[in-house]
Amino acid sequence: MNQEFDEEVKESMKWFTEDVEVPTGLAAQARDQVRRQRRARMTWIASGTAVAAAAAVVIGAVGSGGPGAAASHHVAAKSGTHQVGRGLTVETTSVVIKRVDRALSKAATGNPVAFTRESSTGARLAVLIPHSGPVEFSPDLIAETWTRGALTKTDYMTPAGHVLFSQQSDVSSAQTVDTSVSYTHRAWWRGTYSVPASTKPQVACTLGETELTRAQWTREIKKLLSCGAATFAGYEQVDGVKAVKLKLSSTIKNACAASNSPGKCTPVAVGWSGVVWANASSYLPVRLMAHGDKFSFRIDFGWLTPNAANLAKLRPSIPAGFRHV
């Protein structure tokens, strides 16, 4: 009887898998995913045993990829995680607002240049420079981002305003073209790669998806209110604008303890809370402040006239004398 059960188990497995074949293109998909993960990555990182989060960007190419394979930060990175140092990593899709600036200007011609200025505590910028390996910039950087349509550029700078790293992304074609400039290393590189597949529309009652058009963002605010994820907390003046104050709380799921060996992940939920001030008329965000355990950030939103000066902010600027790596 023992043997009979053993045989039944074996035969069941064989029966269950007898017409299973490895799908074509699986290796290519895996390679694409790895390449995306090696590129732009916005993660929340917590150091030590506590959930101490910090924003980080992991950029570039490693290994044998030459300049053509080099890549850089891509604000549309959708999934996956990247561990930097010790601590805890969270899925990029859960990072709250970093991409909202880009999303806000996706509408048709005539839209303003979306501008955000983000300051944070506990933030780190990690860059993988082609042929050089990872470099971590000083913590608590300020990120200024200009976005309009398919173009996005972000300057990472010290609180004193000294730009350390800049990255421009162009997703106007089937390929994403990123141009990265490290002022610290006086070097620049460019990478081209496939645009990650779009994700499903956000339907959960949370501010998880922020890559939205202006109209979508307005609806998102309303959704958060109606589903209970946001609570109305009155009206306030923010930089001279009458704004609705909304309190938010949410959880970043699927955090992995980076102290685990590669490949292992103990899911951890990281709670955060914040406040969004939205224009009382348009419901477009004016400011967002959020904090979790040992991390915080603030994003100020601006809407710039698409004149020549502001449009120039969307283009990469490579100083003379910088070497191409």
Binding site: M13, V20, A30
Partner: protein
């Protein structure tokens, strides 16, 4: 660039030669073709990321990764702890026919996917891959004793669940706990 191309070629060769077996293992571990595909891709990504750092047999690394991802509860929320519908005991037929045999296999597979990730990985290693306890322990990075215990508990649980699902008395099967 040439090294990267060589690595890509090596992965393609590995899949061409061993892909079907690996895919079938992944399907058993994951519970469905779709999830198995994702699981195998996840393991391939690890392999590609490791690249030149892998010394020795890439297939061995890939298989170990596959099992360890499974045992670690990869996608545990979506896959590993999926609950079986409780069908209740049906009236056993006096003369099992081919339909009953299919029902039993189906029940066994569903019971397999009710096991804990480690138990399932162990059962697949022992009964699908037909590895010894020592070999399975090496793949999973644990002791042979752990493999033995996990396989034993896994089979016992499968027997219980199969009995529930088919109405077949548990003692229709005697469990093999000391399989060499």
């Amino acid at each position: 660039m040439q090294e990267a191309q060589d690595a890509d070629d090596a992965v393609e060769r590995l899949l061409a030669e061993r892909g079907t077996q690996l895919m079938r293992t992944a399907v058993l571990l994951a519970g469905s073709r779709h999830d198995g595909e994702d699981l195998l891709q996840a393991a391939l990504e690890r392999l590609i990321r490791q690249g030149r750092r892998i010394t020795g047999d890439p297939e061995g690394y890939l298989r170990r990764t596959l099992y360890n991802l499974a045992a670690d509860g990869w996608r545990r929320q979506q896959t590993w702890r999926r609950k079986l519908p409780v069908l209740g005991a049906s009236t056993p037929t006096s003369a099992p026919d081919l339909t009953a045999a299919v029902d039993l296999r189906d029940a066994l597979i569903r019971a397999l996917h009710q096991l804990s990730p480690q138990q399932r990985a162990t059962v697949v290693l022992r009964y699908w891959e037909q590895l010894s306890e020592a070999e399975a322990a090496e793949v999973l990075g644990c002791s042979p004793g752990t493999v033995k215990a996990a396989a034993s508990r896994g089979l016992r649980r499968m027997r219980e669940l199969t009995g529930q699902l088919t109405g077949r008395a548990e003692n229709d099967f005697e469990l093999t706990e000391n399989r060499k």
